[in-house]
């Protein structure tokens, strides 16, 4: 009987053939720690009287509140820098970017690796064929101390994306459609294995990151994109890193990209996904373009294309926060940044921005935010009754210009 991609990776790591349902203890190739839980991480290591077993396999990223928003955070981040120096641990400091983007840019997620991160969107590493999974501070501390972690080998759900996207429809729309089809708990404890076929192989690494990123919103333990296209050019992909044709899946979902339309996730649940056309006209106070889901250069360019020669509507705040310093540099180099600024955008320090409601764009009671991020839970970005609508960068940009939720195509018609 054939193996899924998840079974292949964990078998390789366990040194024996393993199947879904088994518990395995495996070596971890990279442990990623974010600033917001670093204090808990240090305390747990202290309790264990341990230090990281393989210092080069640990990275700490200061991204969740960067730069520091208050004295508590400033103290916590000072401790990170000192701890990093003391133990020879890599620290990516304020401004380097969102953890997942940074690790991929730095080559700290590689095909076939197991990467555990103290952030639920660690599924993102599946874009390059790594088994990336999110965990809490205790698991992360144990992984750093032992160099290993325990996992239940997950069953897999197969999601096949077929064909090429129509103009104006993006990988974010495809990802939201996937979450709608799977539901918020449809892949709980499972790996989502993403197969790109009949033209969908053309998805870039960044677009694959968007897909893998959102698999956790269906409950997934990992979101593995079967390596193809650009990933084969950028990485040395081991020949065993493919699911067998006769692998067993719990469920198979097919998404026809050629018929997809722009999507929006409506509060307060990520799987509450609709066509933008159904919700259009919703008044907007703030538009946020960024995060590990959609803060890459292609996302900023897509927004700039819509914003070129236009202005953000009066009364609307447009926040653009590049996912990393590399993205920001590239946007400065190719003119994207100037286009955004001319349209009236505010540019923030690369990092997570206001995604989890701590700083740089917290929402007031009753406010509405159109965002390219990944969660629209109640109170996520500030006031409990503030609303977050999740969309693609193009739709976010068009909504900033209109002052209400809309697509660039609708904008053309209205302003023609």
């Amino acid at each position: 009987m054939g193996q899924t991609l998840a079974e292949k990776i964990l078998s390789r790591k366990a040194g024996r053939e393993v199947r879904a349902g088994e518990l395995v203890v495996v070596e971890v190739d990279q442990v990623m720690v974010v600033d917001s839980i670093a204090g808990s991480f240090f305390k747990r290591l202290e309790y264990l009287e341990a230090t990281p077993r393989y210092p080069e396999r640990v990275s700490i990223v200061i991204d969740h509140v960067a730069p520091a928003a208050n004295l508590e955070v400033a103290k916590a981040q000072k401790e990170i820098r000192e701890w990093g120096r003391r133990h020879g641990i890599r620290v990516f400091d304020v401004g380097r970017g969102v953890c997942h983007q940074v690790l991929v840019e730095e080559g700290l997620a590689q095909p076939g690796w197991v990467v555990v991160g103290s952030d639920s969107h660690s599924t993102t590493y599946g874009a390059v064929g790594a088994f990336g999974t999110g965990m809490g501070a205790t698991d992360i501390a144990l992984a750093a101390a032992s160099g290993r972690t325990w996992l239940r080998v997950p069953e897999s759900v197969k999601v096949v994306f077929r064909g090429q996207l129509p103009p104006g429809v993006t990988a974010k729309d495809a990802a939201l459609e996937m979450v709608r089809r799977l539901t918020a708990e449809g892949a709980t404890y499972m790996a989502v294995e993403i197969h790109l076929q009949d033209g969908a192989e053309a998805f870039s690494r960044g677009e694959r990151m968007t897909l893998a990123n959102l698999t956790v919103e269906a409950g997934a333990k990992a979101g593995l994109v079967v390596p193809s296209g650009e990933v084969l050019e950028l990485y040395r992909v081991p020949d065993w890193l493919y699911p067998d044709p006769d692998a067993t899946y719990v469920q198979e979902v097919e998404i026809d990209l050629t018929r997809l339309t722009p999507r929006v996730s409506v509060p307060f649940f990520v799987d509450n996904v609709h066509e933008v056309a159904e919700v259009k006209g919703k008044r907007v106070d703030q538009v946020f373009i960024g995060t590990c889901t959609n803060g890459r250069i292609e996302d900023l360019r897509a927004a700039a294309e819509v914003l070129k020669g236009r202005k953000v509507a009066p009364g609307v705040r447009l926040l653009v926060i590049p996912a990393s310093s590399e993205v920001l540099e590239e946007a400065a180099r190719d003119g994207t940044l100037l286009t955004l600024l001319e349209a009236g955008a505010t540019i923030g320090t690369p990092g997570c921005g206001p995604c989890m409601g701590r700083h740089m764009g917290v929402l007031a009671p009753g406010e509405v935010c159109v965002s390219t991020s990944n969660r629209n839970f109640r109170g996520r970005m500030g006031a409990p009754d503030a609303e977050i609508y999740l969309v693609s960068p193009r739709v976010a940009a068009a909504s900033a210009v209109a002052g209400y939720l809309t697509t660039p195509e609708e904008l053309e018609e209205t302003h023609a």
């Binding site: 509140v65 999110g134 205790t138 698991d139 839970f377």
Partner: protein, 163 residues
């Protein structure tokens, strides 16, 4: 007597502890006082050690923030009963030594404010004259829980259960 705090389906970790009240935002001492700050602002003040949290489906979805269940632990919660769990939250509960029971029919039978007694080891829940049998956690988790938490287990044995 311990009481039941009952919540609905799809309660996420932002509900349990909003991100703006993370320990590194408000300090180690204060963060538990913000548990369910948006959803049930009275919870952190009124919850008593030994009280039981009851959730519907997909409990604890979303952010991996272990400080959400850690806030519950600091407030004295030792057990959670849910219809089903999101995976990171489930791991975090075990790692912290909070027992995660899964029992759909028991969740349906319990009401907010019920006074109950729970035998954690045996998984026996008593409400008045009624007695509910909960399925005890699997052996791997039980082994860890017997030492307190997975962290305690690893500290004592230098390995994971069953390794």
């Amino acid at each position: 007597m311990p009481r039941v705090w009952k919540f609905g389906d799809q309660i996420n970790t932002d509900d349990i502890l909003p991100g703006k009240y993370a320990p590194f935002m408000v300090g180690e001492d204060r963060f538990p006082t913000f548990a369910f700050a948006h959803l049930r602002p009275e919870f952190a003040k009124e919850v008593r050690p030994g009280d039981i949290l009851v959730f519907g489906r997909n409990a604890g979805l979303g952010s991996s923030r272990e400080y959400a269940p850690e806030a519950l632990k600091r407030l004295g919660v030792r057990a959670v009963i849910a219809k089903s769990y999101a995976r990171i939250f489930f791991r975090n509960l075990v790692n912290l030594g909070i027992v995660p029971f899964e029992a759909e029919e028991v969740v349906d039978a319990l009401a907010d404010g019920d006074e109950v007694e729970l035998d954690l080891e045996r998984g026996v829940l008593v409400r008045g004259a009624e007695r509910f049998q909960l399925r005890p956690p699997p052996p791997f988790l039980l082994e860890a829980l017997r030492e307190g938490s997975l962290l305690d287990y690893y500290k004592k044995h230098g390995r994971f259960p069953g390794e």
